[in-house]
């Protein structure tokens, strides 16, 4: 057990290191944040982008995300950074802050491979970029005479990234020219961009112009007064502002608080503390407290997100990870009520913490942006139930996987009575989790069928997402039946539980990110393959290590006997 604790500690340190290293920026001098700015009013100015009305803060973060790959960049607040780019376009166009993540593309563009960020100026002068950017506008789908589209559907990661780079530069130009920021709505609630309304002498426009002026002249009081004025006057023009007002505030609170990030840190600390909770009372108290705080933050963030989006979070990978990690905690607590085993909470806190870390670490892969739903997903009771049920089963399987890994670890130790007892206890716990998992997965899959039947009239259509849910169910059922028959023993049971978890990963992540086919196309995305591959590699090597250690220790025991 000591060994195990040590390795978890090391793992924790590695992750802290990773957080630290991502915070490190390049050595180029970026403008310093201005002093005495009150950004709160600016953040709360309503604007329209991406199909909904949102606070300026969120608009800024999304824009920064699409430019830099992170929701905030460097020391500057995203809202301030957006204003800064708008008033000093020349300065910013020479600063490296546009992200290129594909090395092949960098090679093709003859760019420095060690560099992560590039300046707009540098990209705009690049030949590869220019050729492609010109080509992209002339490229339409070719249509033959019977209306057959012959454009190929294959995707090359390099071209995809190049497309994004073109989008980044275009977005930068649109931002600088004032086309990106939709300042205020007209009488018909159609939003007008800063560029189009610049010459208008209305109160909101003048206030916005003064914000920019104040920032350029480093006049913080002008900036602050006009932020307030702009927020007031623009809000007056927006329909339904009474309900929107709270939503905007909630969204800014959500962005500033970053509840999931905080919950992640608390979970990880609590997870480590739970390991020592049996022997010492102070860590036990702290662990209880931190778990509680983390879960409250987690639930609060979840509720805020639901409120802002006006729907349960059911649509993308980011939202499902948040839900699943909460599910892991819930199941652990449910089983804890009966079995009172601290290892449940150790495992679940660490799993929840790592899952939240993964969700937060790659905003380009798992987009945290709240977006309007595509029509298939709108206002549907069955869909919500289906997705929440099925992802909840993923949570139970994740917990079973975590506990089984701990159980496997016991096999690397000398077999004693206590170790044997511990193994059967751990297996019992993961069996409990599997019970929740299989029932929920079966129910979730069937609910998916009911939704599909209700929505487009077929219960089952061998769609890859459906099929992979079924594969996972069959795989776990095979293990459970094998256990019932007695072929799956105390060592093979945790081993198979861990192996079967890869089918869950495939159903959850793989269908959308690796296979990329089928009707669930609204969830398709790319990226994260390295992380997923890394996870499977680590898990695989761990299993092999356990097998070797097990053989060694049992050989040793036999020799002694």
């Amino acid at each position: 057990m000591r060994n195990f604790k040590k390795s978890v500690l090391i793992l924790g340190l590695v992750f802290c290191g990773m957080i630290h290293s991502t915070a490190n920026s390049t050595e180029v001098q970026f403008p310093e944040p201005l002093k005495d700015l009150q950004l709160n009013d600016l953040r709360l100015i309503p604007t329209q982008s991406g199909g909904r009305i949102k606070p300026f803060d969120e608009f800024a973060r999304e824009t920064i995300l699409s430019l830099t790959g992170m929701r905030s960049f460097g020391k500057m607040d995203p809202s301030e950074m957006l204003i800064s780019i708008m008033v000093e376009p020349k300065l910013w166009s020479e600063l490296p802050f546009l992200r290129i993540s594909n090395d092949d593309l960098k090679k093709q563009m003859l760019l420095d491979l060690s560099q992560k960020y590039f300046s707009p100026e540098e990209l705009m002068k690049n030949n590869v970029f220019l050729q492609y950017a010109q080509g992209i506008s002339g490229q339409g789908s070719q249509v033959t005479s019977k209306g057959i589209d012959v454009t190929t559907s294959k995707k090359d990661p390099r071209t995809e990234e190049l497309k994004r780079v073109v989008d980044r530069v275009t977005r930068f130009q649109a931002l600088v020219s004032g086309q990106l920021w939709m300042v205020a709505p007209d009488q018909n609630q159609k939003w007008i961009s800063l560029n189009e309304s610049m010459k208008l002498q209305t109160v909101p426009i003048l206030a916005v112009m003064n914000i920019l002026k104040g920032y350029l002249e480093k006049n913080s009081s002008l900036f602050n007064e006009n932020s307030f004025l702009a927020r007031q006057s623009i809000s007056e023009l927006v329909q339904d502002m009474d309900t929107l007002k709270f939503k905007l505030k909630a969204e800014v609170l959500y962005n500033m608080l970053r509840p999931f990030l905080q919950a992640m840190i608390f979970y990880l600390i609590a997870g480590i503390l739970w390991m020592f909770a049996k022997t010492y009372s102070f860590p036990r108290m702290m662990a209880k407290f931190l778990t509680l705080v983390a879960m409250i933050l987690h639930a609060f963030g979840f509720a805020l997100r639901c409120y802002v989006a006006g729907r349960p979070p059911v649509t993308n990978m980011y939202e499902s990870i948040i839900w699943v990690s909460f599910g892991v905690m819930t199941f652990a607590l449910l089983i804890y009520i009966k079995h009172r085993q601290n290892i449940l909470l150790t495992t679940s806190c660490i799993l929840a913490g790592l899952a939240l870390f993964a969700a937060d670490a790659a905003p380009m892969v798992m987009d945290p942006t709240i977006r309007p739903l595509v029509p298939v997903l709108r206002s549907n009771y069955w869909l919500t139930i289906h997705v929440l049920t099925i992802t909840l089963s993923y949570a139970a399987f994740m917990l079973a996987m975590g506990i089984s890994n701990v159980s496997l670890f016991q096999f690397t130790r000398k077999s004693t009575e206590t170790v044997e007892q511990r193994i059967s206890l751990l297996n019992q716990l993961s069996y409990r989790a599997l019970m929740f998992g299989t029932v929920l997965l079966a129910a979730g899959t069937i609910l998916g069928g009911i939704w599909a039947d209700y929505s487009w009239g077929r219960f089952w259509g061998w769609d890859p997402k459906e099929v992979w849910a079924l594969i996972a169910l069959l795989a776990y059922m095979a293990v459970l039946h094998g256990r019932y028959a007695g072929w799956v023993g105390k060592y093979t049971f945790p081993l198979w539980t861990v192996i079967c978890y890869s089918t869950v990963l495939m159903a959850w992540y793989g269908v959308n990110f690796i296979l990329g086919v089928g009707l669930h196309s609204y969830g398709f995305s790319s990226g994260g393959q390295a992380v997923m591959g890394g996870f499977i590699l680590v898990q695989g090597s761990y299993c092999i290590w356990v097998a070797i250690r097990k053989k060694m220790t049992s050989d040793g025991t036999n020799a002694n006997a």
């Binding site: 329209q48 199909g51 909904r52 009305i53 339409g140 789908s141 070719q142 249509v143 033959t144 005479s145 019977k146 209306g147 057959i148 589209d149 012959v150 454009t151 190929t152 559907s153 294959k154 939709m182 159609k190 939003w191 309007p372 595509v374 029509p375 298939v376 709108r378 019970m435 029932v439 079966a442 129910a443 069937i446 069928g449 009911i450 039947d453 209700y454 929505s455 487009w456 009239g457 077929r458 219960f459 089952w460 061998w462 890859p464 099929v467 992979w468 079924l470 594969i471 069959l474 795989a475 095979a478 039946h481 094998g482 019932y484 028959a485 072929w487 269908v511 690796i514 296979l515 086919v517």
Partner: protein, 477 residues
């Protein structure tokens, strides 16, 4: 004999066999999704989901579940959860089979104003017409790797033979001048190019007078048509712009363009100049029609070739010929039809079509409505306002008076035992006018839903009872 039956029974109810079947099912499903990801859905369907061996595995699965349930006879109270779960799976399997055999799952495509009662299914058929008798024969799709080994199939009743099959083809349109004494079908052919089409691109198309299927083509709200001097013009449809080419006997070519509002423009197309002539039909959309070539008497030599790359809408194609006359070979792409005089001197028509089921009533699309997310072009919702037309109503005014039903996402329309769902639409600009509804009739639904309920309840009870038993054991110890 009894011994063998006994052995089979024992195998069926053994847990080992159950686990083996589950693993076999899992592995075949994994294979299928990998095929689907690397090739396409139809190929996965062909090799796995609709293959005999996959059905065998499912049948074995069903059989063993039934056997296991029976093997516990006489049933006791403690068996209830177990029996519920297993009966549930069995019911789902049977329900799925009923759906597969008797169910209907297809599409209806409707443009605004269209009245349609034909459901297009996901299967292809050969339709033979001899005299007054029409016969349709299934001609299932197959992947190219299988089609390469296709030995041909004879339809001797009609004297016709299918020689080759291409799973994903692109047409190579060819019309060449016909010999004076040509026995093949001939007609005037014209190749036009549409410039400034609102959908983007400059689509090119051929019109050919030799066959009804070729003589008219629709492009968005515009219909292009070719006819001979003597033929009558089909009536105008509401909301449709028309561009008619008229091939005169003396080899001249005239045109008549009719706008949506009924304004007409007509003239003669000069064929003397080498430069292709461009005509402005005077419609509200800024379209120009360029005449690229004109052949007064042409035969259709369109061929279908394997498409070099994966296309988005691949068309399967067949090469047919008359039995005993190899030189009569002719390509039919999906949706094409050809006419022959066979060796017996009979007039035969062969069509290669998507299978259709005709409903006992028709639907009429009144309007397609689409809403976008504010400030974007992303659809927020789309809906079809339709009317149900049963055979008796005919006149325009009578149809206009019919009740209007709205079909949209999650809001299907039920007519008799058919259900209509908003599935898709055909993109167009500036306004989308064609909707795609999916039509469904599922006689296995009750079984599947009942089975699902039993399965879940059974599983919950099973786990609950197991947990209780475990507790008892521990307290006893």
């Amino acid at each position: 004999m009894l011994k063998i039956v006994n052995q089979i029974w024992k195998t069926l109810i053994s847990l080992k066999f159950a686990v083996m079947v589950m693993v076999a099912l899992t592995l075949s499903l994994i294979t299928a999704t990998l095929i689907e990801s690397s090739v396409d859905t139809r190929t996965a369907q062909y090799f796995v989901y609709r293959s005999w061996w996959f059905f065998t595995i499912l049948a074995l699965f069903g059989a063993l579940i039934l056997a296991v349930a029976i093997s516990r006879y006489p049933w006791k109270k403690k068996h209830i959860p177990f029996l519920m779960a297993h009966a549930g799976i069995l019911m789902i399997l049977i329900g799925s089979w009923v759906t597969f055999v008797n169910g209907i799952d297809g599409n209806v495509t409707l443009a605004e104003g269209d009245v349609n009662s034909a459901v297009e299914m996901d299967q292809q058929v050969l339709v033979f017409k001899k005299g007054d008798s029409i016969n349709s024969v299934n001609f299932p799709w197959m992947p190219q790797s299988v089609a390469d080994r296709f030995k041909g199939e004879n339809y001797s009743d009609y004297g016709v033979k299918v020689d080759r099959f291409i799973s994903d083809s692109v047409p190579k349109f060819q019309f060449i001048e016909a010999a004076k004494d040509s026995k093949e079908k001939t007609g005037a052919a014209i190749q036009i190019k549409i410039l400034g089409a609102p959908m983007g691109g400059s689509p090119e198309l051929w019109l050919w007078n030799g066959d009804a299927a070729w003589s008219t083509q629709k492009l968005g709200p515009a219909r292009f048509l070719i006819k001979s001097e003597s033929a009558e013009l089909p009536p105008n449809q509401e909301g449709e712009a028309r561009f008619d080419f008229i091939a005169l006997k003396n080899g001249e070519l005239h045109y008549e363009a009719t706008s949506v509002r009924g304004e007409k423009k007509s003239g003669k197309i000069s064929l003397a100049s080498k430069e292709p002539q461009t005509i402005n039909p005077g419609w509200r959309m800024p379209i120009q029609v360029m005449v690229k070539s004109f052949i007064p008497l042409a035969v259709n030599k369109t061929e279908y070739m394997s498409s070099p790359e994966r296309t988005q809408n691949p068309v399967p194609a067949i090469l047919i010929s008359l039995i005993g006359n190899a030189s009569s070979q002719l390509w039919l792409g999906l949706g094409d039809r050809a006419e022959f005089t066979n060796q017996a001197g009979e007039q035969i028509s062969v069509g290669y079509f998507q299978k259709r089921v005709i409903l006992p009533f028709a639907l009429r699309l009144k309007e397609f409505v689409m809403k976008n997310n504010p400030g974007t072009m992303d659809p927020a919702s789309y809906a079809s306002n339709v009317q149900v037309v049963d055979g008796l109503q005919k006149s325009q005014s009578e149809m206009d008076a019919l009740e209007i039903h709205t079909i949209q996402m999650n809001e299907p329309l039920k007519v008799q035992h058919y259900t209509f769902y908003q599935a898709s639409y055909i993109p167009d600009f500036p306004k989308i006018t064609t909707t795609v509804l999916s039509v469904n009739f599922d006689p296995g639904r009750t079984l599947k839903y009942g089975g699902s309920l039993l399965l879940i309840l059974g599983a919950i009870l099973l786990y609950a009872s197991k947990a209780r038993v475990k507790k008892k054991v521990t307290t006893n110890a």
